[in-house]
């Protein structure tokens, strides 16, 4: 398998670090049980490290290798090579949870089964037309757990299917089914260009995590709990952060608009989240509020 040493193109120190890691971890990785020798393991590791650009220095490589889920990586590669015991181990360890994950993603039994079955086919590799089998497990790099990777692949497949299915759904059928459609595209026609420019500039200035937070909450309508789970913090932290980011953004956008020549009132109006259809109602409400306690109408009635 390892006809040429995988460490050949590497720097001597990097190569030594790789050999040292392989020697230390070979036994605990379970590679021997799956018919992977030390040279094979080194080949796998250098390939993974190379793909992720972590072969520049020995220190970088060591850190990267230590972060890998080595046992999972070895198992996945052994499965990809068609090792029988590896497949037994894989099925014993992941079959149940793979189906559970599929169900949690699809939320419907037949769809979940279809999703899981299709992934199995890909994991095992399609051998149509007599071509060499290529298992999807070959692409696993051990950066996260194998179980997490399986969930991600399932989720990807589901998203792909969902989007393609959604495109194929007849509009008439959906309407007949009573489905309500909302405006998915933002209505940019009523927004002030100056406000848009200010908003874009301020959004770009945000931290990536803050932008993700806004997109997940306001665009995708994820719950605070979902976002908190993804980011590994408590729900209340997300709530506070969201409040801080949005209020800060409002202030900065307003300030930027004023700096660009708008009057404070114009800036406030541009920041109003109103639809022209709501404008009449809001004006009416405002006018009513200006009449103290409806006194005028009472007096008029009494006189009348």
């Amino acid at each position: 398998m390892a006809s040429a040493s995988p460490a050949d193109p590497l720097d001597a120190q990097v190569s030594a670090a790789l050999r040292e890691f392989c020697a230390q971890q070979y036994e605990t990785s379970g590679a021997r049980k799956f018919g992977i020798d030390e040279a094979d393991l080194a080949e796998i590791l250098v390939e993974v490290a190379g793909r992720c650009n972590h072969t520049a220095t020995a220190g970088d490589l060591r850190t990267f290798l230590a972060s890998l889920c080595l046992e999972d990586l070895v198992l996945a590669r052994a499965c990809a090579r068609g090792h029988e015991f590896a497949w037994e181990t894989f099925l014993l360890r992941y079959r149940a949870t793979l189906h559970e994950s599929a169900y949690k993603i699809a939320r419907e039994e037949s769809a979940a089964r279809e999703l899981a079955d299709s992934l199995y086919a890909e994991l095992y590799g399609v051998n149509a037309k007599g071509e060499a089998r290529t298992s999807k497990l070959r692409s696993y790099q051990g950066r996260g757990s194998l179980q997490g990777w399986l969930r991600t692949v399932l989720a990807q497949e589901y998203v792909n299917r969902y989007r393609s299915t959604r495109r194929e759904t007849s509009l008439d059928e959906a309407l007949d089914a009573g489905q309500q459609f909302e405006d998915m595209e933002p209505d940019v026609s009523v927004a002030d260009p100056c406000a848009e420019a200010a908003a874009t500039a301020e959004l770009e200035a945000l931290e990536p995590e803050e932008r993700l937070l806004l997109a997940a909450y306001y665009l995708d309508r994820r719950t605070l709990a979902d976002i908190a789970k993804l980011m590994g913090v408590h729900e209340s932290t997300i709530s506070r952060r969201l409040e801080r980011v949005t209020s800060g953004l409002r202030k900065r956008i307003r300030k930027r608009m004023i700096q660009s020549g708008m009057s404070p009132r114009q800036a406030d109006e541009a920041m109003q989240d109103v639809d022209v259809r709501d404008l009449r109602i809001k004006v009416k409400e405002t006018l009513r509020q200006e009449t103290p306690e409806g006194a005028f109408y009472q007096e008029k009635d009494e006189r009348g």
């Binding site: 189906h99 692409s139 950066r143 757990s145 997490g148 991600t152």
Partner: protein
């Protein structure tokens, strides 16, 4: 929700264009598992802020870590809407409160001459009849005795057992935590109620479906919904408080107030992967071949070494622990080694 964001800002947010190149499943997995280096995490976060597809993927993958279905339950049951344990707990508390109120009302109406009925009939009535069905007056003095007698009687339906034999008689969702480890050959279930400890031994539920795990996985064991299916397995303990392994590899035990998880064996450097409970015996395993055992429901712990034939100790990560009773069990490592014991862990044999 969308209304809270000014329109210009919402538009600008939606206009953000995603990159052409999407992160690989590996990278997204690392992101979900919070394992990415800071620099790479920022890149992925930045991409996610712009790419709705990848956001869907990470949220789906992240959401799929919840509520693991016990692998000895058939899928038909799994297809029912599942609740998080906290949700189930809140219902349990509500049911308990209702039960207490009913008890007080009943107490007022009780006559000393009235015959004490079986509490089990009340339980069955709660299961089969609407809550409004008026329970038969019961003498409190005889409740515990009758209940013990009733619950000690053999029953044939594991499903009913699971449902009715919740802690202190509180009804739980069928998929809620308390699953039992059946001793070999045990056919009857016993439950002691109105005491601190409650143990359930049900006949082995062996239902499977085409969608169910393989027979090896159908071995019944103590499981409750964990936080992370890979990292966690929870067990109904002898004290009826579940155990779990947190997503970051810590062994945790639900506090007596059932509102807080307490870290156990916190001084150990082990990254735990699995916990298994059988009766008062709690087994926890993790990295470096670490295997811990408590025979008193987690009060005291001892480290168990699995001696290999070469004279060393097993150092593979323990990923599976299964015990059919306190004496007989099997442990598997991530490297594929399997060890069995028939003397409660004193000696181990390679399989």
């Amino acid at each position: 929700m969308n209304q809270e964001l000014p329109k210009p800002l919402r538009n600008a947010l939606a206009r953000q264009a995603g990159d052409e190149v999407h992160p690989s499943p590996d990278v997204l997995t690392s992101f979900v598992e919070l394992k990415l280096p800071r620099k790479e995490q920022n890149l992925v976060t930045s991409h996610l802020a712009q790419c709705a597809d990848c956001r869907d993927v990470v949220f789906l993958a992240s959401g799929a870590t919840e509520d693991v279905v016990p692998d000895n339950l058939e899928l038909a049951a799994a297809a029912a809407p599942r609740r998080r344990w906290r949700f189930g707990l809140s219902w349990a508390v509500a049911a308990l409160a209702l039960l207490l109120v009913s008890g007080v009302l009943l107490w007022d109406r009780l006559s000393p001459r009235q015959t004490a009925p079986s509490i089990a009939s009340n339980v069955r009535a709660r299961e089969s009849a609407p809550p409004a069905a008026s329970p038969t007056p019961t003498s409190p003095e005889t409740l515990a005795t009758t209940a013990r007698a009733e619950f000690s009687a053999p029953k044939t339906s594991p499903a009913l057992a699971t449902k009715s034999l919740s802690p202190k008689g509180v009804e739980k969702h069928p998929l809620a935590p308390v699953m039992a480890a059946p001793p070999a050959g045990e056919s009857a279930q016993t439950l002691t109620v109105f005491e601190d400890k409650a143990e359930l031994f049900a006949p082995a539920p062996v239902s499977k479906s085409a969608f169910a795990p393989n027979p090896a996985d159908a071995v019944p064991h103590a499981v409750v919904p964990p936080v992370n299916p890979m990292m966690s397995l929870l067990g109904a303990s002898a004290t009826h408080r579940p155990w779990r392994v947190s997503a970051d590899g810590h062994l945790e035990h639900l506090g007596a107030a059932a509102d807080e998880w307490t870290r156990v064996l916190a001084d150990e450097t082990t990254t735990f992967h699995v916990v298994f409970v059988v009766g008062d015996n709690v087994w926890a395993g993790g990295s470096g071949g670490a295997l811990f055992h408590s025979d008193d429901g987690g009060e005291s712990w001892s480290r168990v070494a699995i001696a290999t034939s070469s004279g060393g100790a097993e150092i593979g990560t323990i990923v599976s622990i299964r015990f059919s009773d306190p004496q007989h069990g099997t442990v598997a490592t991530g490297g594929g080694s399997r060890w069995s014991t028939s003397d409660g862990g004193a000696t181990w044999t390679s399989q």
